[in-house]
């Protein structure tokens, strides 16, 4: 029998190794898996590479993971924000490495990782500093940059509903990177607000099929953004 439900967030992350690459969902606070990130902090893995759109907001979630000194490198599109002071300080003191990626290339690289695509030519960033040193090519009169896939050892995402097969739905803009990151990690862990019996989700409305999800943690109460 397939049962991906974990009762405990920490138990769902016991096997995260030092040096692992972790894809972390969320756009700002929406979709950020706070409970899983807190569990990752408690779990203790270090020297992590984190792939996430932002570099943390305030002092919770991803910012707390950064503040705990667990992250060696971050791959993201928009680190600088009004409340990104934790990252700002680490970056200025050269305690964290930054790979800045245009947002559309970031999600497309993660998608390529999940979809088995070896590399792709994207027009985004061509001729800019973020394409420096990268292979380029003119195709059909347009210029492109060659970008490579991103894959994670773990993906930590936040969804709304799940069943024991790991089928997921999301809530409004908290969906953002969740479905794509789920496809691109060896182990995908989703925190959800609700676990439903098998068959309760409308098969037309499942956003992330369970094949992309390995573990599901039901969280209690409010967690970060939303409701």
């Amino acid at each position: 029998m397939i049962d991906k439900i974990y009762s405990d967030a920490l138990a769902s992350l016991q096997d995260v190794q030092d040096g692992a690459t972790i894809l972390i969902g969320g756009f700002g606070g929406a979709g950020m898996p706070h409970t899983l990130i807190d569990a990752l902090i408690a779990q203790g893995a270090r020297d992590l590479t984190v792939v996430s759109n932002n570099a943390g907001n305030g002092t919770t979630g991803l910012a707390a993971l950064l503040a705990a000194g667990r992250v060696r490198k971050i791959v993201c599109s928009f680190p600088r924000q009004a409340d990104s002071f934790v990252f700002d300080e680490l970056y200025r003191s050269k305690k964290i490495e930054l790979e800045l990626v245009p947002q559309g290339n970031l999600v497309e690289r993660i998608r390529a990782g999940g979809a088995g695509i070896g590399a792709f030519f994207t027009p985004t960033g061509y001729g800019t500093a973020l394409a420096e040193g990268k292979e380029t090519r003119e195709i059909d009169g347009r210029n492109y940059v060659l970008e490579y896939p991103i894959r994670g050892d773990f993906a930590l995402i936040k969804a709304e509903q799940s069943d024991r097969w790991g089928n997921l739905t999301y809530r409004m803009t908290a969906r953002n990177f969740g479905p794509i990151m789920a496809s691109a990690a060896k182990t995908t862990v989703a925190q959800v607000a609700e676990v439903l019996p098998l068959g309760a989700l409308n098969p037309e409305n499942v956003v992330t099929p369970g094949i992309f999800v390995d573990r599901v943690v039901k969280i209690e109460g409010q967690d970060g953004a939303g409701r």
Partner: protein
């Protein structure tokens, strides 16, 4: 002869008037956000937000904010009837794939060849952040730039060549400043409109680039 710069409100209204009924528009963070408040109610214009919204509505009433319903600037918004949600892959397929009719971006500089610089000042201590700007620059069918014509120090943001790090090459179609509306053409900037009382010669002098009437 003297002239009065357009206010931001006037600039935003000028842009809004140029958006055709039925257009899908992505409004960038910062000054362009004012355009959303100027959209004429008789037109149905669909706002796209890079984080997964088509049919974005205005800011909710106080107390009605939902942390899961935010725009690209992470501010609370609403969803119109007929709006929908989707993931980032779909959202950036819309942007990169040429499905957005108009992107309205702020900028540090726009060059006469249509290059835009809007994501980094290139200062060594600056913390860079690019977000979806490069995707919009490269992918939107038309790229409108909304910015002041001059920096605080009086330097023109309309330039012959960008000195700041580029966001996109040759992609800007029209620039709305507080002094003029300029089209980017194969021959360079072409003046569509100027504030009352400003001469082409004076605008050209302020801009430091050749302007076509």
């Amino acid at each position: 002869m003297s002239y009065t710069k357009w206010t931001r409100q006037q600039m935003a209204q000028r842009i809004a008037d140029d958006i055709p009924d039925g257009a899908v528009v992505n409004i960038g963070i910062g000054m362009p956000e004012m355009v959303a408040n100027c959209l004429p109610p008789e037109k149905e214009i669909l706002l796209h937000s890079e984080n997964g919204i088509l049919g974005m509505g205005p800011r909710p009433e106080p107390g009605q904010e939902d942390g899961d319903l935010i725009n690209a600037g992470k501010q609370p918004v609403t969803l119109l009837q007929g709006g929908c949600f989707f993931d980032h892959s779909t959202s950036f397929s819309m942007m990169r794939g040429g499905h957005i009719d108009i992107a309205i971006l702020g900028a540090f500089q726009v060059a006469e060849n249509g290059d835009i610089a809007n994501w980094s000042t290139g200062k060594p201590d600056a913390i860079p952040a690019v977000g979806g700007a490069m995707d919009l620059a490269v992918g939107a069918k038309r790229v409108f730039v909304m910015m002041e014509h001059l920096t605080k120090n009086g330097q023109s943001k309309i330039v012959s060549q960008c000195s700041y790090p580029l966001t996109g090459l040759g992609c800007v179609t029209r620039v709305y400043t507080d002094l003029a509306v300029l089209d980017v053409t194969p021959q360079g900037f072409s003046v569509v409109e100027m504030v009352e009382g400003l001469s082409l010669e004076e605008l050209e002098r302020l801009s430091g680039v050749t302007l076509h009437a």
